[in-house]
C-alpha cells in the first residue's frame, strides 16, 4: 500500500503545495504611506479645550495644534513672543495691559460651522469672559471648572476686559501681577471663537464647543476615536504659514514598550515619553533621534491633609523619613531624574538650597509615628494612575516601592488605580488618603509651582491635591507675585519653600528629565521644557522622501 503510493507521491503532493501557497501569498514588507506624521501619545485627552484642564496629555493634543494664545512663550529664548496679539504694552503701574490683535487670522471650519468673519477682539473677550464671568452662557458648560485659571487667581485678578476696537483689547488688573503675561502664554490660555459659541447656542448644543473644537491653530480636528487615535488635518489658512505635513495623527498608545516598537517599525514618527529603561536601545538605533531637556517638573506624593492621620504633621514627617527617594529614582527613573527636596527644580532662580533634607531613616520614622500615637502603624490608601507622565514614568511601580518601604515602618498600603480620566475625576472628590501625582510647569516663572499646587483657590480647581490651605502661605506667594523685581521675589519664594518643607503637605520625590524620541527625518520639533508638543513647523526631510519613492 505504502509503496504503491510512493510511486505517485509527487503528483499527489502537487495540489497540496498549491493549497499551501495559495493561502500564503508573498509579502515584500516595503508598503508605503501617505505623507503625514504619526505621533504616539500616551493617553486620551480629557477634552479638546485646554482651558478646562491641567493635564499634559490634553494640552499636548490641543494647545499648540488647534489653538493659539494672545502671546506665546519661546522656550529657546525664554521670552514672551507675539501670538494672536502682535504687539502689547503695559502701563506704568503695571495694571493695564493693551493688546494689538493680528489681522487676517481665520478660524477653522468643520462640517457644521463655517466662520463668516476673521478673528477679532470679540473672540478674546469671549474666551476669557467664559472663564471669569460666572454668568457667561458658556461658563458652566463642561463643568465650569478652569483649574489652571482658578489656581492662578485669574478671576480675582482681572478687573475687566474691554474691547477698544476690533483689533485692540485692554485687560485691567486689580493689582500688579508679575506672572500675568506668562500665564497668558501658558498652554491653557487659548482663544476660542465667539461666532462658533453663538452658533452652538443657537443650535442648542453648547457642549460641542469643547468636543468639536474650533480654533485658529495650525491643525483642524478631523476625527477622534477614544483610546485609539486622533486625526488632524492641516489648516490651509493658518496665519503663520500652513503646516508642511498633509496629516497629523495621534496614535494613542498607553504602553511605552508598544510606543517604542511602533516607532522602530515605522508606525509612529514621533513618540512621547520614552521610558528611562529604554533610552539605551533608542540611542543605539541610528534611525532614531533622542531629544533630552531638563524638565521643569516635579513628581510628588500628596496627602489629604484634612483626613486623619495625615492632618498630623508628625505623621507626614514620619512618612517623609520612611521613603527612600534614591531607590525610587534608580528603580523607576533609571537615574534619569534628580531627587527632589523642594517642589521647585534646582534650576529655577528661586530655588532654596537651605532646605532640610528628609533622609531615608525608618528608625526615625517609627519614632515619629510613636510620638504621633501611631506606634502600631496603620493602613492607608495610595492612589496611583497606570499612566506614564512626564514627571513620573511609572506611578504604579513607584507606588509598589513605597508600599514595600512603608511596610518596614508598619504601615500597610493599598494601591488604588484607575484609568487617567477616571482617576482625575475621582480625585476631585478628595476621597483618597494620599496620591502620587506631579506637576509640569507651563512657564519659567516659579509662581507656577506654588499657586496652582498650594493656594486655597486651587483646592476647588483640583490643583491642590493635598487639600492644604494656609492663608499665611497664600500671602507670601501673593507678595511674591506683586513684586516685579526678581531680587526681591527670591527671599519670598525661599520663605515659601521653607514653609512647605516644614509642614510637608506633600513630599516631592523627583524632577524628571524630559525626553522625546523621533525619526531623524522628522524636523522642526524642538522639545519644550515646559511641556506642550507642537507640530506647526514639523516637516519630513526631503532627501528621505525621494529615497522612499
Amino acid at each position: 500500500m505504502i509503496n504503491w503510493f510512493k510511486k505517485n507521491f509527487k503528483m499527489s503532493l502537487l495540489p497540496v503545495i498549491l493549497m499551501m501557497t495559495a493561502c500564503n501569498p508573498n509579502f515584500d514588507g516595503t508598503a508605503h504611506l501617505t505623507p503625514g506624521v504619526v505621533y504616539c501619545s500616551e493617553g486620551d485627552p480629557t477634552t479638546f479645550n485646554p482651558q478646562l484642564t491641567t493635564s499634559g496629555t490634553t494640552t499636548d493634543a490641543t494647545s499648540y495644534q488647534l489653538y493659539n494664545r494672545l502671546v506665546e512663550y519661546d522656550p529657546e529664548l525664554g521670552v514672551i513672543q507675539p501670538g494672536l496679539a502682535h504687539l502689547w504694552h503695559i502701563n506704568e503701574n503695571g495694571k493695564i495691559y493693551t493688546f494689538y490683535l493680528r489681522k487676517g487670522v481665520k478660524f477653522h471650519q468643520n462640517h457644521g460651522f463655517t466662520p463668516s468673519r476673521e478673528f477679532n477682539a470679540d473672540d478674546v473677550l469671549f474666551s476669557f469672559n467664559r472663564i471669569i464671568e460666572l454668568s457667561h452662557p458658556y461658563h458652566h458648560i463642561s463643568g465650569g471648572l478652569y483649574p489652571f485659571f482658578e489656581s492662578v487667581g485669574f478671576g480675582q485678578l482681572i478687573d475687566k476686559i474691554t474691547k477698544v476696537n476690533d483689533h485692540m483689547v485692554t485687560i485691567h488688573l486689580k493689582e500688579k501681577d508679575s506672572s500675568f503675561l506668562a500665564n497668558l502664554a501658558a498652554n491653557f490660555a487659548v482663544v476660542l471663537s465667539q461666532e462658533y459659541g453663538d452658533f452652538l447656542l443657537e443650535k442648542n448644543q453648547p457642549q460641542l464647543i469643547d468636543s468639536q473644537p474650533i480654533g485658529t491653530g495650525p491643525f483642524v480636528l478631523d476625527s477622534y476615536f477614544q483610546s485609539n487615535h486622533i486625526r488632524y488635518k492641516p489648516n490651509p489658512h493658518y496665519w503663520d504659514g500652513p503646516p508642511k505635513i498633509e496629516q497629523l495623527v495621534y496614535d494613542i498608545t498607553p504602553n511605552s514598550t508598544s510606543r517604542i516598537a511602533k516607532l522602530m517599525t515605522g508606525d509612529c514618527d514621533v513618540s512621547a515619553l520614552p521610558q528611562s529603561s529604554e533610552l539605551d536601545i533608542l540611542r543605539s538605533n541610528i534611525k532614531l533621534e533622542l531629544q533630552i531637556q531638563t524638565g521643569f517638573n516635579v513628581a510628588y506624593w500628596a496627602f489629604n491633609t484634612e483626613r486623619a492621620p495625615f492632618d498630623n504633621i508628625l505623621v507626614r514627617k514620619a512618612l517623609a523619613h520612611a521613603i527612600n527617594k534614591k531607590a525610587i529614582v534608580e528603580a523607576v527613573y533609571y537615574g534619569s531624574a534628580t531627587i527632589a527636596d523642594s517642589i521647585l527644580p534646582p534650576l529655577s532662580w528661586a530655588y532654596n538650597e537651605q532646605l532640610t533634607t528628609y533622609h531615608y531613616n525608618p528608625e526615625r520614622a517609627r519614632q515619629l509615628l510613636e510620638q504621633a500615637g501611631y506606634g502600631d502603624g496603620f493602613t492607608m490608601d495610595l492612589w496611583a494612575a497606570p499612566v506614564q507622565r512626564i514627571y513620573n514614568p511609572n506611578a504604579i511601580k513607584t507606588a509598589e516601592l513605597l508600599q514595600g518601604q512603608l511596610a518596614k515602618v508598619g504601615i500597610k498600603v493599598n494601591i488604588i488605580s484607575y484609568g487617567w480620566s477616571v482617576f482625575i475625576q475621582k480625585l476631585n472628590s478628595f476621597d483618597y488618603d494620599s496620591v502620587l501625582l506631579g506637576w509640569t510647569a507651563d512657564n519659567a516663572d516659579p509662581d507656577n509651582f506654588f499657586r496652582p499646587l498650594f493656594s486655597c483657590a486651587a483646592i476647588n480647581s483640583g490643583g491642590n491635591r493635598s487639600n492644604w490651605c494656609r492663608p499665611t502661605f497664600d500671602d507670601i506667594v501673593s507678595q511674591a507675585i506683586a513684586e516685579t523685581d526678581q531680587a526681591k521675589r527670591v527671599p519670598l519664594y525661599h520663605q515659601a519653600q521653607q514653609k512647605l518643607n516644614q509642614t510637608l503637605p506633600l513630599i516631592p520625590i523627583a524632577h524628571a528629565l524630559r525626553f522625546q524620541v523621533k525619526h531623524r527625518t522628522i524636523k522642526g520639533m524642538p522639545l519644550n521644557p515646559y511641556g506642550g508638543v507642537s507640530f506647526a513647523k514639523t516637516y519630513r526631510k526631503k532627501a528621505q522622501q525621494q529615497e522612499q519613492k
Partner: protein
C-alpha cells in the same frame, strides 16, 4: 436525532444559566454598590437609582435579581462602561469585528496548512515526511503562544523590521470603520492608493494571524492525519486500489471527503482555544479586539465590562461547542449509535 438535539439544547440552557449565576455572584462580590456595578451608572441620581432598582429588581430577593439580571443581559442590555459611560453592547460591537477577523484568518491559515500536513502525514505513514509533520506539530503544540509572539515581534518586527508589530492599519490611511473588518472597510472607503492600504493592512495582519494559527494548525494536522489513516486502511480504498484508480483520485475523491467531515466538526471545538489565544495575541500585538478591550477593562476595574466580556466569550464558546456537537452527530451517522446507547 431530535432527541439528541433536545438533550444538547437542555445542556446548553443549563450551562448558560450556571454561567450567568457565577457572573451574577461575581458582581455581587465586587467592591462598591451593587446597582452601580450591575448597571455601570456611576453616581446615579436618586431617580436613576430608583429606576435601576426597578430594572434589576434589587429590592426583591436574590432569585428575582438573578432572573432580571438574565433578562436584561439576553436582551442585549449589558449596562454602561465605567470608563466611557457608553453602552457596553455598542462598544462590544466595535471591538468584536477585529477579533472575528483575526480568528477567521488564523483558522483559514490553520486549515490551509494543517489539512495538507495531515494528509501528507497519513499518506507517507511512518516515513520521513510523516515524522516531520509529527515533529513540527509537536513543537508547534508545545510552544506557548505569547512567547512565540514576543519572539516574532523581536525578530521580524524590531530586528529585521519587515513587519509592523501593533495595530491593524497604519493610521495615516484614513479608513472609516463601516463594517469593522479592515479589508472590507478599505475597499468601501474612498481613499487614494487602496492597494497600498490593503498591503499595509495585510502586513499588520500577518504576524498576529500566523502566530495565532500555529496551535490550531498542529491540532488540525494531527486530527486530519488520524482520520485519513483510518480511512486509507478501510476496505473500500483497497478495493479501489485493486481496480486501478489513480492515487490522486483515491485520496482526493474517495478518502478525503470521508475523512474531512469529522475533522471539520472537531476543528470547531478548537474555537475556544483560538479565542483564548486570540486574547493573548491581541494584547501583545495591540490588536484592538475584544481581548485588548477586556484587558483594559480589568486594568481600569471596569466591572460591568469585565462581567459582560465573560458572559459573551464564555457564552459564545458554549454555543459553539453545542452546535459543533450537533453538527458532528448529524454528519457522522456511525456516532449516533453511541449516543443512543448511552441514553
Amino acid at each position: 436525532m431530535w432527541f439528541y438535539i433536545v438533550r444538547r439544547f437542555n445542556l446548553f440552557v443549563l450551562t448558560v444559566a450556571v454561567l450567568y449565576f457565577l457572573v451574577f455572584l461575581m458582581i455581587n462580590a465586587m467592591p462598591g454598590e451593587l446597582a452601580t456595578n450591575i448597571s455601570g451608572h456611576v453616581n446615579p441620581s436618586v431617580e436613576q437609582h430608583e429606576q435601576l432598582v426597578q430594572q434589576y429588581q434589587l429590592d426583591k430577593n436574590w432569585f428575582n435579581q438573578y432572573i432580571s439580571f438574565i433578562n436584561q443581559r439576553i436582551h442585549g442590555d449589558f449596562g454602561l462602561s465605567f470608563t466611557t459611560a457608553q453602552p457596553i453592547f455598542d462598544e462590544m460591537l466595535k471591538v468584536l469585528p477585529a477579533t472575528i477577523e483575526l480568528c477567521f484568518y488564523a483558522l483559514l491559515v490553520a486549515l490551509c496548512l494543517g489539512l495538507p500536513m495531515g494528509i501528507l502525514g497519513a499518506v507517507r505513514y511512518r516515513k520521513f515526511s510523516d515524522h516531520t509533520v509529527l515533529g513540527i506539530s509537536l513543537i508547534g503544540y508545545s510552544i506557548p503562544v505569547f512567547w512565540l509572539a514576543m519572539l516574532a515581534i523581536m525578530y521580524f518586527g524590531l530586528k529585521l523590521q519587515w513587519l509592523p508589530v501593533a495595530g491593524r492599519l497604519n493610521l495615516l490611511y484614513q479608513v472609516d470603520a463601516i463594517t469593522g473588518f479592515t479589508f472590507i472597510d478599505i475597499l468601501l472607503s474612498d481613499i487614494e492608493n487602496k492597494r497600498l492600504a490593503l498591503r499595509d493592512a495585510f502586513s499588520h495582519l500577518l504576524m498576529p494571524a500566523l502566530t495565532l494559527a500555529l496551535l490550531p494548525t498542529t491540532v488540525v494536522a494531527r486530527i486530519m492525519r488520524t482520520a485519513m489513516l483510518e480511512e486509507l486502511n478501510a476496505n473500500y480504498i483497497k478495493a479501489s486500489q485493486a481496480r486501478g484508480l489513480s492515487p490522486a483520485t483515491i485520496i482526493f475523491r474517495h478518502a478525503l471527503p470521508n475523512a474531512i467531515q469529522p475533522v471539520l466538526a472537531q476543528v470547531s471545538l478548537q474555537l475556544s482555544t483560538i479565542l483564548t489565544s486570540a486574547m493573548v495575541i491581541e494584547v501583545i500585538f495591540s490588536w484592538p479586539g475584544i481581548g485588548n478591550w477586556l484587558m483594559d477593562a480589568i486594568y481600569q476595574r471596569d466591572y460591568p465590562v469585565i462581567s459582560a466580556g465573560i458572559l459573551v466569550c464564555a457564552g459564545f464558546i458554549i454555543l459553539v461547542s453545542v452546535l459543533s456537537d450537533i453538527f458532528l452527530i448529524a454528519t457522522t451517522p456511525q456516532r449516533r449509535s453511541a449516543v443512543y446507547g448511552s441514553s
